[in-house]
Symmetry: C2
Subunit: 365 residues, 2 copies
């Protein structure tokens, strides 16, 4: 729950800027570009980020070495990759050590902790470099109590067909649109990239399994103090063979009033577990609603579709087709901005509230 | 995964011997009575365990103090309670400290670690007392890989309508019956009591959430080396608002071939979350089968019913009634021994195997 102080990041991605393992870097470049002085990646050095990844909207320079990045005045080196298992790629270690020696703060979103690395710790002590392991959760998380059932704010949770289908992005785009309209909104970060962007949060995949629901609940209770609507970043998928426990921790622990289902067009199976074929989206909606019906009922009120691989026309068709198949409002908030989804969420919350009021009135009479 | 060396336990329950918080003690008294010299609990002192809890079949004496227990020659003090949140009850601390000073090994199944307690650690260093925090998982658990899908052994997982409905007990009773018939069986312990009984295992509720499925997979791979059938102790319930992430970790990570549903007669809601009403058992069977159908399909092959609150005749009726409602073999393995359930599991595995063979033959022709 560390608060973000103004940082000027050099983001280290060394060979992994493009592709799924670079998603930490992508998130920060997209939503905190103002805080990035350079990306360090010798594979793409000499270009700007928008020449390699135009969708991010970042003009940060890509340089080949820490030495070059230092000329641009960073205060921190961000280890900007998310590898399977969370280990630091060996190719990055020399740069990290050099940055420690240069006194830069090291900001690390990997599972592997800087503070568990004796060499890094020793050299940081000598140089005065600060170390921030973003994934390390607070050590005083309580068990889930049910208090989240009683918050006055409306809680909206992003769910998804898989990892890396745009759950964080959808919530951030909706947050931006809602704030532009003056709504009292809080974004709840539950993963390392989200925490880097929001400046606080808990990496729930790093929390002891008995306490994941409790962590989600605490995040919601905290955010609800200052917001009418709380947007919770989701993780994984209920059908993910490896990561579903984290997904269920958020689904049960954040006690959502409404769900936004996120999906990438064309995805038909869980990445890395191609034997796990996904149901169609209408069924995925029903599966989620059925699961939480006995605990705290909530409906899927909108679908966020990642259409980044499609042309404008194809995207329009995919959005229309998905809306027809599911009967739900559908949009790509990156392509079209978050306002459409935000309005759909508001309507969904409103109609759920009316249904609850009717049920309460019926119970009284 | 520490191996159990022969221990002579004094079990400390101080006021909590009877009731749900005493379940660690109950498990050890039921399945490792040979290793227990005394229970320390001033509320019941002067009696034998079978006078207070006849169902456990233990004649161990209950004494009021460590001093009295020491006359019976224990080698270890077992902190025999499972409190919410895993804190040591303050009333137990003086006895634990005295046992440390007396040089007894301290065996602790609580979330709170002895090794994080400076006073206990310091006094243990002086007296030479060993400290075993049973819940602390190994620190080298890999992510789930899918290797569990390919083990040759049949994997049977206990699932349940809630916590504390007899999942561990059912698997241990079936293990006992199967071993008596000469079957090559391994019991996989996933909670502190099971680990104390089996001498190895991982307390999955203490594993970082991203690695729970990986922990379950490693346990299965390890057990499958020496067994034709692996019985996995389940945890929690898919509808438990707080603990479901652990449940899903086992359901997905152990990649079971067959499920045994455990339930206590009369239970209608999740303990502590009475708003969460349970579906009937036939629906609970369908819910579990539907959840894993996309990942690794498995069927519920038998139901283990805890009828301990009923008379003999009531129990017979409840078992017959449940069998009728679900169409599945049903038994109370504590009341009637595990042989009936073991035979039902064998039949279930066999008929699943035949169905798979038929499907494979159809695919070839």
């Amino acid at each position: 729950m560390e608060t973000l102080i103004p940082r000027r990041y050099a983001i280290l991605t060394e060979g992994l800027l493009v592709g799924m393992h670079g998603k930490t870097a992508h998130g920060v470049l997209r939503y905190r570009d103002d805080a990035v002085v350079a990306v360090i990646d010798s594979h793409y050095a000499g270009k700007r980020v928008d020449e390699v990844l135009p969708a991010l909207g970042s003009r940060a320079p890509i340089v080949a070495s820490l030495e070059e990045a230092m000329k641009l005045g960073p205060t921190a080196l961000l280890v900007g990759v998310a590898t399977s298992g969370g280990k630091m790629p060996p190719a990055m270690r020399p740069t990290v050590l050099a940055a420690v020696d240069a006194g830069l703060e090291i900001v690390n979103g990997l599972h592997d902790c800087l503070k568990d690395d004796p060499e890094i710790v020793a050299r940081a002590q000598r140089s005065g470099a600060q170390l921030w392991d973003v994934r390390v959760p607070p050590d005083d998380i309580p068990l889930f109590s049910g208090a989240a059932y009683n918050v006055r704010s409306q809680v909206v949770l992003a769910i998804g067909s898989d990892c890396a289908v745009g759950k964080m992005t959808a919530m951030l785009e909706v947050e931006r649109a809602a704030k532009e309209e003056g709504a009292r909104i809080e974004f709840v970060a539950t993963g390392q990239t989200g925490i880097l962007i929001a400046g606080k949060g808990i990496a729930v995949d790093r929390v002891i399994s008995d306490f994941v629901t409790g962590a989600a609940e605490q995040l919601v209770l905290d955010a609800a103090r200052n917001a009418d609507v709380v947007f919770v970043e989701g993780q994984g998928s209920i059908f993910h063979p490896a990561y579903a426990p984290v997904t269920f921790g958020l689904l049960y622990g954040s006690a959502p009033d409404a769900l936004v289902l996120c999906h990438r067009v064309g995805k038909t199976a869980i990445a890395g577990f191609e034997n796990v074929e996904l149901p169609d989206l209408a069924e995925l909606v029903r599966d989620h609603e059925a699961l939480i019906e006995r605990i705290k009922p909530a409906k899927v009120v909108a679908i966020a579709l990642d259409t980044s691989a499609l042309s404008e026309q194809q995207a329009r068709n995919a959005i229309a087709q998905t809306a027809k198949e599911t009967g739900l409002p559908v949009d790509d908030p990156v392509r079209n901005g978050g306002a459409g989804l935000w309005h759909a969420i508001q309507k969904g919350i409103e109609s759920t509230q009316k249904a609850l009021d009717r049920a309460a009135a019926a119970a009284r009479s």
